[in-house]
Symmetry: C2
Subunit: 677 residues, 2 copies
C-alpha cells in the first residue's frame, strides 16, 4: 500500500513540476507583434486540428466503450459495473489530455524560443527544453496516476488493461492522423514552394507554411506524446498482469507494485535529470548534444541507484534488479546505434550523401540498404535483453526490462519533444524576418533535435518490442496457453504468423498512400493560391494559410480511419476464426516484421534527412547542385518513412497485443470458427 501511495505522490509531483515548468515557459518574452501573429496562427491551427481529431474519434470511443461494457464486463465477466469500459474511457481521456497539454505548451513555447534566441543560444535551449519537459513529465505523471488510481479502485489488473487499450487506440489515431497531417503539409508545401516556385523553406509567401508548422506540433508533439503514453502504461500494466495472474501474487504484493514504484522513481530521476541540461553560450553541436545526453545519463544512473535501493529496502529478488538494468542498457544501446546510422558524423550517412552524385535512385537504394542494415544492433540488443531477463525471471523479467527502459521516459521524451519547438521557432524567425543570427541559433537547436529525435525513435521502437512481448505473454496467460505454449508447428499458428507479419507491411502501405493523397491535395491548393491570389509572390497579396491547414486536417482525419480500424479488427478476427494460438502467432509475426520495418524506416528516414543536410553544408556541390536535388528527393521519401509509417508501427504492435489481452475473456468462451468443422 505504501508503494502505491509513493506512486501517487510521484505522479502528483510530476504534474506539479509540469505546472511550474509551464509557468516558466509562459513567463518568457513572446516576442514582437509579427512573431506573435505567426505564433497565434500556428496555435489556432494546431488547436483546431486536435479539437477536430478528438471529435472525430468520439463515435469510435463511444461504440468501443459500449462494446466493452456489454461484451466484456456484462456478458463475459458478469459484472454489473462496466469496469473495463470505464478503464477504457479513462485511458482515452488521459491520452487525449496528455497530448493536449504537451501541444498547448509547445505552441506557446515556439514563439518564446524564437524570442529567447534573439538573446542567445542558452536561453533558447532553456525555453524549448522546458516545453519538452512539460510534455515528458506530464505524460509520465498522468500515466502513472491513471494506472495506479484505477488499480487501487478495481484491484484487478485484468480490467485495468482497458486503460491501456484506451490509450493505445487514441495513440494510434493521433500518431497516424498527426503523422499524415505533418508529412502531407511538409511534402506538399516543399514540392510546390522549394521545387516549383523556388522560394526558401518557411517563406511566408508559401500558403502551406503555417500548415507545415502546425504539422510539427500535431504530429511530432501530440502524436508522439500519445504514442509514448501508451508504451508507458502498457509496460506497467503488462508487468503487473504477469505478476498477479501468472505469478499469482496478491494485488498489493511487492512483485505487483514494483513497476509502479519503479515508474515513480523514474519520474524523480527524470526531474533531477532535467536540471543538468544547460549549455554554454558558445556551445557547438557536440556540446549541445552532450548537454541533453548528460540529462539522460544522469537520470539513468539515478534510476539504477533507485532501483537498487528499492530492491534492497523491500528485500526483493535481486534478479529483478538485473532484469531492470538489462532494459535500461538496451534502450541506451539502441539509441546510440540509431544515432550512428542517422548522424552525418558517421560513415553510413556520409555514404548516402556520396551516392547523391549519381542521382536520386542511388540515394534511395543506399538509404534503404542502410535502413535495413541498421536493424542488426537493435535486434541483437533486444535479443540479449530477452535472453537475460527471461533467464532471470521469465516473462516477468522481460516486462520489467521494458519498464526499466521506459522509466526515464520523462526526460527522454523531453529531449525529443523539444525538437519540434525549435523547428517551429526557426520557422517563426524566418517568417517574422528576424536577424540571421536568430535563425542560426534555432537551426543549431533544430539540428540537435533531429539527432535526439532519431535516438528517441530507436528508444520508442525498442520499448515497443519489449512491451509487445510482455503483452503477448500476458495475453497467453489470460487465454490459458502460457504453460502449454504457442506451437509454431501448428498450421493455424503458421498462418497467424504469416498474416501477422503481413500486417505491418499493409499498414505502412496504407499510411504512406494516405500521405501521398493528402500531400497531393495540398500541392493542388498551394498551386491554386499561387495562381489565383494576386501579388502573392511580391508580398502584397496574403496567402490563405487557414485553407491549407483545413485541407490537411480533413485529409488526415479521413485517412486515419482505415488503418486504425484494421489494427483493432485484425486480431479479433484472427482470434474468433482461427483461435487463440493463431492469434498469438499473429501478434508475434507482427512484432517480428514490424520491429524490422519500424527500425528500417526510422533509420533510412533520419539518414536521408541528414545526408541532405550534409550536402547543404557544401559537400558534393552544396545547395542547388544536382547532388543536392538528389539528396532532397531522398529526404522527401524519408519523410513518411520516419514520421508517419515508421512510428505508427510501434503502436500497431502494442495495440493489437492489448486488444487481444482485453478480449481474452471472450476468446475463452467462444469456439473459433475453424473448430466448428
Amino acid at each position: 500500500m505504501v508503494s502505491m501511495v509513493i506512486a501517487l505522490v510521484a505522479g502528483a509531483v510530476a504534474l506539479l513540476f509540469a505546472a511550474i515548468m509551464t509557468k516558466r515557459v509562459l513567463s518568457a518574452d513572446a516576442g514582437n507583434e509579427a512573431m506573435r501573429e505567426i505564433g497565434d496562427a500556428i496555435r489556432e491551427g494546431s488547436s483546431a486540428f486536435l479539437r477536430r481529431e478528438y471529435l472525430a474519434l468520439v463515435p469510435f470511443v463511444v461504440v468501443m466503450t459500449i462494446v466493452l461494457g456489454v461484451v466484456i464486463d456484462l456478458v463475459t465477466l458478469g459484472s454489473a459495473i462496466p469496469k473495463t469500459a470505464i478503464s477504457y474511457l479513462a485511458g482515452t481521456i488521459c491520452s487525449a489530455a496528455a497530448g493536449l497539454v504537451g501541444m498547448n505548451v509547445a505552441v506557446r513555447a515556439n514563439v518564446r524560443t524564437a524570442a529567447a534566441a534573439m538573446i542567445g543560444l542558452n536561453p533558447a535551449l532553456r525555453v524549448a527544453f522546458s516545453s519538452g519537459t512539460v510534455m515528458g513529465i506530464t505524460v509520465v505523471g498522468i500515466g502513472l496516476l491513471g494506472v495506479t488510481i484505477l488499480y487501487l479502485i478495481w484491484r484487478d489488473i485484468t480490467v485495468v488493461a482497458g486503460f491501456g487499450f484506451g490509450a493505445s487506440s487514441i495513440a494510434l489515431f493521433a500518431r497516424v492522423g498527426g503523422g499524415i497531417f505533418t508529412k502531407a503539409a511538409d511534402v506538399g508545401t516543399d514540392l510546390v514552394g522549394k521545387v516549383e516556385a523556388g522560394i526558401p523553406e518557411d517563406d511566408p509567401r508559401n500558403p502551406g507554411v503555417i500548415a507545415d508548422n502546425v504539422g510539427d506540433n500535431v504530429g511530432d508533439v501530440a502524436g508522439m506524446g500519445a504514442d509514448l503514453f501508451e508504451s508507458y502504461v502498457g509496460s506497467i500494466i503488462s508487468t503487473i498482469f504477469l505478476a498477479t495472474v501468472v505469478g499469482a501474487v496478491a494485488y498489493n504484493d511487492n512483485m505487483a507494485v514494483l513497476p509502479l514504484l519503479l515508474a515513480g522513481a523514474g519520474i524523480l530521476a527524470s526531474i533531477i535529470g532535467t536540471f543538468v541540461v544547460r549549455s554554454g553560450e558558445q556551445a557547438d553541436f557536440g556540446q549541445l548534444l552532450w548537454a541533453l545526453r548528460r540529462g539522460i545519463f544522469v537520470a539513468s544512473g539515478l534510476l539504477a541507484i533507485f532501483a537498487l535501493v528499492i530492491v534492497l529496502v523491500m528485500d526483493l529478488d535481486f534478479r529483478w534488479f538485473w532484469a531492470i538494468i538489462s532494459g535500461l542498457v538496451a534502450g541506451i544501446v539502441i539509441g546510440l546505434a540509431t544515432e550512428y546510422y542517422t548522424s552525418y558524423d558517421y560513415t553510413p550517412t556520409k555514404i548516402i550523401a556520396e551516392a547523391s552524385q549519381t542521382g536520386s535512385a542511388t540515394v534511395i537504394i543506399s538509404g534503404i540498404a542502410t535502413g535495413m542494415i541498421s536493424t542488426l544492433v537493435p535486434v541483437i540488443a533486444i535479443s540479449l535483453t530477452i535472453l537475460v531477463a527471461f533467464e532471470l525471471a521469465g516473462f516477468y523479467g522481460v516486462a520489467l526490462a521494458g519498464v526499466g527502459l521506459l522509466s526515464t521516459l520523462g526526460i527522454t521524451l523531453a529531449t525529443d519533444a523539444y525538437g519540434p519547438v525549435a523547428d517551429n521557432a526557426g520557422g517563426i524567425a524566418e517568417q517574422a524576418k528576424l536577424e540571421a543570427i536568430v535563425r542560426e541559433r534555432t537551426d543549431a537547436l533544430d539540428a540537435l533535435g533531429n539527432t535526439t529525435a532519431a535516438t528517441g525513435k530507436g528508444f520508442a521502437i525498442g520499448s515497443a518490442a519489449l512491451t509487445s512481448l510482455a503483452l503477448l505473454a500476458a495475453y497467453a496467460a489470460a487465454v490459458g496457453i502460457l504453460d502449454d505454449g504457442i506451437n509454431l508447428l501448428k498450421h493455424t499458428t503458421l498462418v497467424g504468423l504469416l498474416i501477422g507479419a503481413m500486417l505491418p507491411f499493409l499498414f505502412s502501405a496504407f499510411t504512406m498512400k494516405a500521405v501521398g493523397r493528402a500531400a497531393f491535395a495540398i500541392v493542388t491548393e498551394v498551386r491554386r493560391q499561387f495562381r489565383e491570389i494576386p501579388g502573392i509572390m511580391d508580398g502584397t497579396g496574403k496567402p490563405d494559410y487557414a485553407r491549407c491547414v483545413d485541407i490537411s486536417t480533413r485529409g488526415a482525419l479521413r485517412e486515419m480511419i482505415l488503418p486504425g480500424v484494421m489494427a483493432v479488427v485484425a486480431p479479433l478476427a484472427m482470434g474468433f476464426v482461427l483461435g487463440t494460438e493463431a492469434l498469438g502467432g499473429l501478434l508475434m509475426g507482427a512484432v517480428a516484421s514490424g520491429f524490422m520495418l519500424a527500425i528500417m524506416m526510422a533509420s533510412a528516414g533520419g539518414a536521408w534527412d541528414n545526408a541532405k543536410k550534409y550536402v547543404e553544408l557544401g559537400n558534393y556541390g552544396g545547395k542547388g547542385s544536382e547532388a543536392h536535388k538528389a539528396a532532397v528527393e531522398g529526404d522527401l521519401v524519408g519523410d513518411p518513412f520516419k514520421d508517419t509509417s515508421g512510428p505508427s508501427l510501434n503502436i500497431l504492435l502494442k495495440l493489437m497485443a492489448i486488444v487481444s489481452l482485453v478480449f481474452a475473456p471472450v476468446f475463452l468462451k467462444v469456439t473459433p470458427v475453424i473448430d466448428l468443422f
Copy 2:
C-alpha cells in the same frame, strides 16, 4: 519400384526433349556477320563469367564436401561411405550443369531470335520460347533424375537431403552473383549512357552494352535456373522426408514415391503444354500473353488429370489429391496477383506512373506502398493452402501442395526464361542496326517477357514459402521436436524468430549495397572510356567491351561471398548456441519477413519498370519529359529490388532450412551453448 522407374523415364524423356529443342534452336538462321559478331561477344562474356563463377565456388564446395563427409557422415552417422557428402557434391554439379545448359542455349538463341524477327513475330517467338523450353525442361529433368537416382542408391532420404543442400548453395551464389552482375552492368551502363552521354539503350558506342547483355544471361537465365532447380528438388526431398521419417513408411512406399511420380507427370504435362504455345503473325500483346498462358493452363489442367489418375490407379488417399490441387491453385492465384500489381493494364501501376508528375520521390513512395500492399493476396493464398493442405494431410499435405505448385515448372520456367533471350535479341538488333520492324518485334516479345517474369517471380516466391515450411517440418522431425512443437513462448524461440526476421533485411541490404558498389565501378570505367578512347562517340573508335564485362565479373564474384556464407553460418550458429527450437524460430522468422520482403521487392520493381514503360507510351509527357525522368529513377531503384535482392531471398529461406535439415543429426548430439550455463 515401378514408380521410380517411371520417374527415371520421365527424367530421361525430359533431357531427350531438351536435346531435340536445342537442335531446333541451333538449326535456325544465325543472322548476318554483324549480328554473329555481337552474339559471339555476348556468348564469350557469359561463358567466361559462368566459368569464373564456378571456379570461384570450387574452394567453398570442396570445404563443404569434406565437412559434410567428416562431421555428418563419418562422425555423426558413423558411415564409412560419405553419403551426404556425395549427395551434396552431386547437387552442386547438377545445379551448375542445369545453369550451364540453359545459358549455353540462351546465348545462341538470342542472335537467332533476332534473325527470326527479321521474318516475323511468330518465328521469333518460336526460337526464343524453344530456348526457354530447353532451360525449363533441363532443370526439371536433371532435378528429377538426380533425386531419384540418389534415392535409389542410398534408399535413405536423410542423406539425399545433401543433394538439396548442394543445389541450394550453388543457387544462392548464382542468384546473388548473377543478380549483382546483371544489375551493376544495367544500372552502371544506363547511368552514364542514357543519363550522362544521352545515347539510347543498347547503343554500340556504350562500352558497357555487352556487359549489360551478358548480365541478362548470367543473371536472369543461369541464376534463375539454379534458383528453381533447388526449389524443385527441395520440395520433392522434403515431401519424401515427411513421408518416410514422419509417416514412417518404407522407402518405396506409395506415400514416399508419390512426389517422384507427380514430378514425372509434371514433366509430361509441361512438354505437351509447350506445343500449344504459338501466335498469329499479327498478334497483339494480349494474344501473345494468351499464347504463353495457354501453355501453362494446358499443362496445369493435364497435371490435375494425371494426379487424379495416379491417385485412382494406385488407390491412394484421396485427400492427397486435394492437397496437390491446393498448391496448383495457389501458384496460379499468386501469379495472377503479381501480374495485377505490376502490369500497366491495371490501376496500381497507373497510379505510380501518375505520381511521376510530382517527381521521383512520389514515384518511389507510391511504388514501395504498392509493393507492400501486394503482399496481401499471396499471403492469403498461401495461408489458405496451408490450412487446407494441413487439415487434409498434415505437413505431408503442405509439402505435397508445394510439389503440386512446382510440378509444371518445366513450362512456367520456359515462359520465364524466354524473356532474357528476347531482351538480348533486341539489343543485338539495335547494335547490328537492323531495320526498325525487327526491334519492334523483339520489343513486343520483351514486354511480354517482363510480364511473365513478374508472374514467374510470384510463383517462385509462393513455392519458396511452401517448400521452406515443408523443410522446416522435416527439420523439426529430424531433430525430434515435431511432436512436442516449437514453443513461441520460450525466450530462445522468440530470439530465434527475431533474428530470423532480421536476416532477410540484412541479406537484402548486403546485396543492394553490392549492386551499388559494382555499378559504381562500371560507371567509372564507362566514363573513363568515353574520356580516353578517341572517336568513341562518332563510331570511329571501338569501345573496350571486354573490360566492362571483366569488371562486372570481378565485382559480382567478390560481393557474392559474404551473403552466401552468412546464409550457411547463421542457422548453424543459432542451432549450436541457442538450440534446435531457437533454430526453428529462426527459420520461421526468416520465412515470415522474407516472404513479405520478396513479394514487396518483386512487385515494386516490376511496377516501376512498367510505370516507366507506360510513361514512354506517351502518357504524362512521354519520353524525355520530367515525368519520364522521375519514372526512370523509380525503375533504377527497382532494378536491384526485383532482380538481385528480391529473388535471392527465396533461396536464402530454403538454403537456411536445408542446412538445418542436413545438420540435424549433429544438433542431436551436441549440447547448445545456452544449456551449458
